[in-house]
Amino acid sequence: MTVAGERERGVWRALRADRMAMAGLAIIAIVVAMALAAPLLFPLDPLDSVGRPLIAPFETWRHPLGTDRLGRDLAAGVFHGAQVSLAIGALAALLAVGIGVLAGATAGYYRGWIDEALMRVVEAFQTVPSFVLALALVAVLGPSISSSIIAVALSTWTQSARLVRAEYLSLGQRDFVRACRALGMRDGAIMFRHILPNALPPVIALATLTMAIAILVESALAFLGLGDPNRVSWGAMIGSGRALLRTAWYVSAVPGVAIALTVLGITMFGEGLNAALDPRRMRRS
């Protein structure tokens, strides 16, 4: 374990030196804090109206970011929306990477026709526009948090499948894998207990970047009115401000800034992580 500990310290040191990654981490910390503080700062349901409709931002201290057409507090929406965006983003990314690891590991470990068949499936998923697929899934499953998660995961898993497959193809040739086989270990144990830890670093970085994409896809679904109707979300807030662009454009502008900052923060951190975990890729990006 000391070797692994050493490597983690190295990664952390590289991250600390990376100003972009640290800025990203700071943004993530702020958004997580907003999500956690939401029920304390805004104990009322953010979907209830609490004041005069269409107060502009910075007009009154009671509603610092203003209110929308129905007198719902925008600040409360932004804080509570952070919960939904982060939760859906994280769970969808986790599910996407989970599917990707399973499919990629199986394809890369067994090779041959299994690999061929799984890669055809990956290709099919990449041939269909992922957002159209997400729409179709939400249409069939009905709009809810869980169908958003499934739709977003199924439209983003292919990248991690390809990455994991490539890692397994190269790691599968190493001596330690041959040694495991010679010891008579079962395939499952070799794949997940011995190869996976070695394949994981780039996957973790990709999972972070997948989460950023997942938040974008989820907000686009919610913007079109296909999110969970009972939960406030940034995308849905932007969508509800669409009809007011001529008179009160800030209703759409405010939650958009929240999405942009969150995605920016996660992407910056994910890229720093990618560089720190794999020094060879440092100069690219």
């Binding site: 729409l135 249409a139 069939v140 079109l224 942009a260 920016l264």
Partner: protein
């Protein structure tokens, strides 16, 4: 021409299984959806007796075991019999193909603009990687990538259509203007500025980064040193020699990005009321019109395969080594 024929054959051999998987996925989604065609039909006609329903199910083959149904579905899809949309009272194939051209124009223009701007920015950034200009361009690319495109679209509407009133809010042509010829073309172009900009922004970020990375890699190759030794200026080296080689990875990604752009056109078209396939997809979701939606999935897969094939042909044309043997 022989090389192109070889390529076409190879692409087809890959495309057929891919398409079959896509169609099987569609079939599964239809089975997952609550109710079947006959239910929809009965509801749209205000109900009916069970005997008629059973007769209709037999007619559509819905009383057959599922492998037979799947085979029937695949066979129909391959003949572009994509079923009927009861919401639009129109064949799905007609609906989709009527709306495809405007979407392809929107997509093609957006990708072209993104390639030009993103490629140039990436090349400028790579010239002095790590310099101040590089950092500024990188930051811009990151912002392009992170901004939700639907939000940028709305903000562009606020700025250019509502505040400045330079550009129209939506649609593809001024209603009842009676414009024709060049005037009509200019009118359409004016309407497409904002949708194209919205769709292109994300890809500007992507292409900029890919171009920059590829250029940095090419800069380390021997022929660049030769070019410099010949006494060419840095600008000539960068744009005549390095950029040309760095363009290839951009082209490879076009097929993949065609899929992303088709997805993005759903949001952009519904925002700017462009009557294309994306808008159709959005309306179909709203109406729970699964037939139309799955028809769109199928046709978009065909478009992506076609783009991939065109990229291959372009490659073979640029690089004579490809496609031989």
């Amino acid at each position: 021409m022989n090389r192109v024929a070889t390529l076409l054959r190879r692409r087809l051999a890959q495309a057929v299984p891919t398409l079959l998987i896509v169609l099987t996925g569609n079939f599964l989604l239809i089975r997952l959806a609550p109710g079947d065609v006959v239910d929809t039909l009965m509801i749209s006609q205000g109900g009916g007796d069970p005997a008629t329903a059973a007769a209709l199910r037999a007619e559509y083959g819905l009383d057959q075991p599922w492998p037979v149904q799947l085979a029937l579905f695949l066979w129909k899809s391959l003949r572009f019999d994509l079923g009927f949309s009861y919401f639009y009272s129109e064949r799905v194939a007609t609906l989709v193909f009527d709306r495809l051209p405007i979407t392809l124009v929107l997509m093609g223009t957006a990708m072209g603009v993104a390639l030009a701007i993103g490629g140039t920015l990436g090349a400028l950034a790579a010239q002095r990687a790590g310099g101040r200009r590089d950092v500024a361009i990188l930051a811009f690319g990151l912002v392009c990538y992170a901004l939700p495109s639907f939000w940028i679209g709305l903000m562009l509407i606020v700025l250019f259509a509502v505040k400045l009133q330079w550009l129209p809010v939506g649609g593809v042509a001024t209603m009842g203007s009676g414009l024709a010829g060049i005037a009509h073309g200019l009118d359409v172009a004016r309407h497409l500025v904002l949708p194209v900009a919205t769709l292109a922004l994300f890809f500007v970020g992507v292409y900029m980064r890919v171009m920059r990375a590829a250029m940095i890699e090419v800069f380390t190759q021997d022929f660049v040193r030769t070019a410099r030794a010949k006494g060419l200026s840095e600008r000539q080296v960068a744009f005549r020699h390095v950029a040309r080689h760095a363009m290839l990875p951009l082209a490879t990604m076009l097929g993949l990005h065609a899929a992303t752009a088709l997805g993005g056109s759903v949001v952009v078209e519904s925002m700017f009321s462009v009557p294309g396939v994306g808008r159709l997809a959005f309306d179909a979701v709203m109406q729970r019109d699964v037939n139309t939606l799955l028809g769109i999935v199928y046709v978009s897969a065909l478009v992506v395969i076609a783009v991939n094939f065109l990229v291959d042909v372009a490659y073979a044309w640029i690089d004579p080594r490809i496609g031989e043997g």
